[in-house]
């Protein structure tokens, strides 16, 4: 229908607004005045009102396919999955330099030594953690506090749930799990871990797996050293840091061939299958390779690991200095 008069054309938006009950006082009054005098527009207003009625009928009518139950269930499961992947992280200062700690819903997923000043939005952090990571100091602060206590020697256990989903290789997982079982203050060699996971010749792959440890300190790869007692390597070129971590745990060092080594002669010894710890001179134990024993810097550490003094060599009666 065309509206012949310009005044009628002009009033049309107001007419629509009045029909939709959206008009302000001024527009309502304009419409009222106009339709009182204009019969066609009175008809128009009625029609628009009827359309509003029709539209609210459509709104209220049942909608075919309007059952969100299945879609909701699927959404919930996608969200749960997404949530478990979301990583909250914090970057903190520590006696061993700036450190990044990240955790997911399942547990701590990353500990990383950083170089220099690193911003939470730096490409380095994104590359390491992925785009879904969010800075969340509230979620990581308690971890940082415990880590500081650990580095201070006031805490011997980090009882953190770990999220190892980023570790794709079953072999690396086994290596990390065996390493995680090494008690505080104990050291063994890469071959020792290889033996424990039933792959005694896999010394190099074990070293490689530990080089890519996503959770240093929490998974104590610093307690794994070379067969000669040399520290070998740690987090790139941070051998000094490895020594520092071991020193905190009471591990003894000496120099041999111009190289810093764990001093086996100054430490208590225990084969992994034994429940007693010995003096380094006990029986044939001194001839056993490092891969077949664990070393402890003090009786206190050995006993905290659940070991008792050997009844033959009696380290309790003849302690090492």
């Amino acid at each position: 229908m065309t509206m012949p008069h310009p005044v009628c054309r002009e009033i049309e938006p107001d007419l629509l607004a009045v029909a939709a009950r959206e008009a302000g006082a001024a527009a309502s009054e304009r419409v009222e005045r106009h339709v009182a005098a204009c019969r066609p527009c009175r008809g128009e207003l009625e029609r628009y009102r009827a359309i509003e009625g029709l539209v609210s009928g459509i709104k209220g009518a049942p909608l075919p396919g309007d059952d969100a139950t299945l879609a909701r269930a699927e959404l919930e499961s996608r969200l749960a999955d997404l949530r478990s992947r979301i990583v909250g992280f914090g970057i903190y200062s520590s006696p061993v330099g700036p450190i990044l700690i990240a955790r997911s819903e399942l547990g701590v997923s990353m500990v990383r030594y950083l170089e220099g000043r690193v911003s939470p939005v730096s490409p380095q952090v994104r590359r390491v953690l992925g785009e879904d990571a969010v800075e969340d100091r509230a979620a990581t602060e308690s971890l940082h506090r415990e880590l500081l206590e650990y580095l201070d020697g006031r805490r011997t256990h980090l009882d953190w749930p770990l999220d190892l989903r980023r570790v794709r290789s079953a072999f690396q997982r086994r290596v990390l799990e065996a390493t995680a079982r090494l008690p505080y203050g104990a050291v063994t060699s890469y071959s020792g871990i290889a033996r424990q996971i039933g792959a005694p010749t896999a010394m190099r792959p074990v070293a490689q797996a530990l080089r890519r440890n996503p959770l240093p300190i929490a998974i104590p790869c610093h307690r794994v050293i070379g067969n000669s007692g040399a520290l070998v390597g740690y987090a790139g070129k941070k051998v000094g840091l490895k020594q520092r971590l071991l020193a905190i745990e009471g591990v003894r060092f000496g120099a041999a061939h111009g190289e810093l080594r764990v001093d086996r002669e100054a430490m208590y010894v225990c084969p992994p299958e034994e429940v007693e710890y010995c003096l380094p001179t006990c029986g044939s134990i001194s001839s056993r390779p490092l891969a077949e024993v664990r070393l402890f810097g003090s009786r206190q550490r050995a006993e905290a690991a659940g070991l008792s003094p050997c009844t033959t060599c009696r380290p309790d009666l003849h302690p090492l200095n």
Partner: protein, 179 residues
């Protein structure tokens, strides 16, 4: 964990708005499977972006904006537009040949209106649906469509005028002449 709080809040958001957002998308796409997919995508995007939303934001309007954007992308394919229209057209009830009483006429008018709505340009249809089916205000509709509230209102009025024209003779209107 600090984010746990935010996640619980988001669960509440899903509970409060999922059914409505899906209904909106169902009205727009006319296909339950598309409404499922787009509503899921709306909330997954919402979940990712939620932490950067200001605390006083209107969450419902924000979700409508995400859903609206997704629908507009969805309808960049003309084929989908035709498909949505075809679904509505196919649901039009057939007159049963009896003397048309007012109820039957109303039912038919409603079906015709739905067909006209399905055939509207996408922006008008989105604006109309947000306003008339979900009672969003023009500010929220404008924000969803990246236009001013006035333009949003103009889109809705255009839609109503098209329904008016399309129903010219088929609408059982009680006007002065029929009373």
């Amino acid at each position: 964990m600090g984010r746990v709080m935010a996640e619980d809040v988001f669960e509440g958001i899903v509970a409060a708005h999922h059914a409505e957002i899906r209904r909106y998308l169902l009205r727009i796409t006319a296909r339950p499977s598309d409404a499922d997919d787009l509503s899921q995508e709306t909330f997954l995007r919402g979940f990712r972006a939620y932490s950067s939303l200001p605390p006083d934001a209107n969450v419902r309007a924000w979700l409508f904006a995400i859903a609206t954007n997704l629908s507009r992308n969805h309808f960049r394919s003309r084929k989908r537009q035709r498909l949505a229209y075809a679904v509505v057209a196919a649901e039009t009830p057939v007159a049963d040949g009896n003397w048309p009483d007012r109820e039957a006429l109303l039912g038919e008018a409603r079906a015709r209106a739905e067909r006209i709505i399905a055939g509207l340009p996408v922006k008008q249809r989105l604006a109309f649906t947000m306003r008339k089916m979900h009672d969003l205000d023009y500010d929220a509709i404008g924000a969803s469509l990246s236009c001013s509230p006035e333009s949003a209102r103009a889109h809705v009025f255009q839609a109503v005028k098209k329904i008016r024209r399309g129903l010219d003779d088929g609408l059982p209107v009680e006007t002065e002449s029929t009373r």
